[in-house]
Amino acid sequence: MKRCIVTVLGKDTVGIIARVCTYLADNKINILDISQTIIQGYFNMMMIVDVSAIEKDFKVICDEMVVLGEEIGVKIHCQREEIFEKMHRL
């Protein structure tokens, strides 16, 4: 399993989760966990996903997610999990 963290940050609007999940499903990315909160008045969602079945290059997925975010009007990042693991876990 190759885990990544997808974060979505921005103003709340209809269909954010739907659009993101559709993109993930289209690209064979499995969602393992979703959590959502409001931080400083902003919609803030984090998904832990498994990208081991993707057919595109991981960097292409990262770029496409950024573009998708721009379309919806939110900021989407897709990052490998290790950066968070390293920083917050011994």
Binding site: N44, C62, Q79, I83, F84, K86, H88
Partner: protein
């Protein structure tokens, strides 16, 4: 499993507090390029660098994208060129051809700086060392990406005062050779005492002869992250203050360790060290001076500055050391004047003087860094400032360095513009009493005694 607050803390650091990996520096040994034929030597150097470093920039960009962490610079350090060119270079102009080759190779592989146009002369100089040092003004004026350094002293050998005298002249000559660009050449020339072999930061990077054929060294940064964390502990005691710095330094360094490991794996080149340094940039919110002010100083340079900096430097190391498997380089807090908005402001309002900066260098890495001084300053005065800073390093068994920019045609009250990461600097006054007779003495200052420490 990672939770949403941890993820947003990390991303907050990256997006709003300027967390980044400052540099991945690929050290390349050029010892196997040595040849007595100058053309052949240049050909071998170009070939080796463009082969070993071919994928450096693209690998750095891949890691940046996959982990979502900016890697600001990809750079190269090489074996001190005075060693590599000793057999082929008979005069300073011969060394300049190597400088052009290095510059061309740096452009070919896309790195923004290449360090190692250097000579190690802490005890005395060979003819080739001296030729290289004498070639520095022309080399820096004719190239764009070369960084040069000279190690003129160490705790074990004392200070080579002949080299100190020569370096004062060379700094002045470099300033004159690049006078049309506010003496920018001097921003790429460092004079060291106790220079480390594995420093990834420019302008003083070179690959020491004790290192492997190729090695990845990484410099982390993050003054903005420390500043932000300290805002949460305003008015609290030193214990909490220190804990906060340590925890933050740990987190920042872990990112560096991750990037270093990935780069090493992907390039198939061994990982050397992480340099734990708080490296400021001219961007607002990326300043070491602002951290010191957050700790409680009205302005950097005020009484208390040296103590606050000593504490900051020590806590950064304590937090960072556990986060990395190997720590080296310069590790500490950098205080370059032109590259730190808080430092620039402190000089402008008259809070920070050259003398106070010198005192600060006793407790932090590295030295008198990126300080613009009047262009009329004499070579012997520059040598005097270098000698003072070298003495601090020699006696305290630490690395110290001098990167002064005598801005030709400008004086106190004016500003020098270097552009980009090098920033800008108000010209700082220099003590105008001379030291000519001291500097013109021949020979070296003996190594200090290591007992009777008072």
């Amino acid at each position: 499993m990672i939770n949403i607050y941890e993820v947003s803390e990390t991303n907050q650091m990256i997006e709003h507090e300027n967390l980044d990996v400052r540099t991945i520096t690929l050290g390349i040994s050029l010892l196997d390029c040595v040849d007595s034929n100058l053309d052949e030597l240049n050909r071998k150097i170009y070939e080796k660098i463009t082969t070993v470093a071919k994928n450096l920039v693209s690998t750095g960009q891949d890691i940046e994208k996959e982990f979502g962490i900016p890697i600001v610079n990809k750079r190269i350090s090489v074996t001190p060129i005075a060693l590599v060119g000793a057999s082929a270079c008979k005069k300073p102009e011969d060394y300049v051809t190597i400088a052009r080759t290095l510059d061309k190779a740096a452009k070919e592989v896309g790195v923004n700086f290449i360090g190692g146009y250097s000579a190690l002369v802490s005890k005395s100089m060979t003819t080739s060392d001296e030729n290289l040092i004498r070639s520095i003004p022309q080399a820096l004026a004719e190239t764009e990406r070369i960084c040069s350094s000279v190690n003129v002293g160490s705790t074990r050998t004392g200070i080579n005062m002949d080299a100190v005298r020569l370096c004062g002249e060379i700094v002045k000559a470099t300033a004159e050779a690049t006078a049309d660009k506010d003496s920018l050449g001097c921003a790429k020339l460092v004079v060291f005492c106790n220079a480390p072999d594995d420093n990834p930061f420019m302008a003083g990077a070179f690959l020491g002869v004790t290192e492997a054929d190729a090695v990845i060294n990484v410099g982390v940064s993050g003054p903005g992250v420390v500043k932000k964390a300290l805002e949460q502990v305003r008015g609290k005691g030193f214990e909490e203050l220190c804990e906060t710095i340590k925890k933050t330094a740990f987190k920042v360094t872990r990112v560096g360790q991750l990037v270093a490991g990935e780069a090493s794996k992907r390039l198939g080149i061994p990982f050397g060290i992480i340099d734990l340094s708080l490296a400021p940039t001219p961007a607002v919110g990326d300043s070491v001076a602002e951290i010191l002010e957050e700790i409680g100083l009205e302005r950097v340079g005020a009484p208390g500055t040296t103590a606050a900096l000593a504490m900051l430097n020590d806590q950064v190391k304590k937090g960072g050391v556990m986060a990395s498997s190997y720590v080296g380089g310069l590790s500490g807090a950098f205080i370059p004047v032109s590259e730190d908005q808080g430092m620039i402001d402190a000089v402008t309002v008259g809070s920070l003087s050259l003398e106070k900066l010198e005192a600060m260098t006793c407790v932090c890495s590295v030295g008198l860094d990126m300080i613009a001084i009047p262009g009329k300053t004499s070579a012997s005065t520059i040598s005097g400032i270098i000698a003072d800073e070298m003495a601090i390093g020699m006696v305290n068994q630490k690395t110290t360095a001098v990167r002064l920019i005598p801005v030709i045609g400008k004086d106190v009250g004016e500003t020098a513009e270097f552009g980009g990461l090098l920033g800008y600097a108000p010209i700082i006054p220099v003590n105008e009493f001379g030291c000519e007779a001291f500097i013109s003495r021949q020979g070296r200052i003996p190594a200090p005694i290591h007992s009777f420490k008072n």
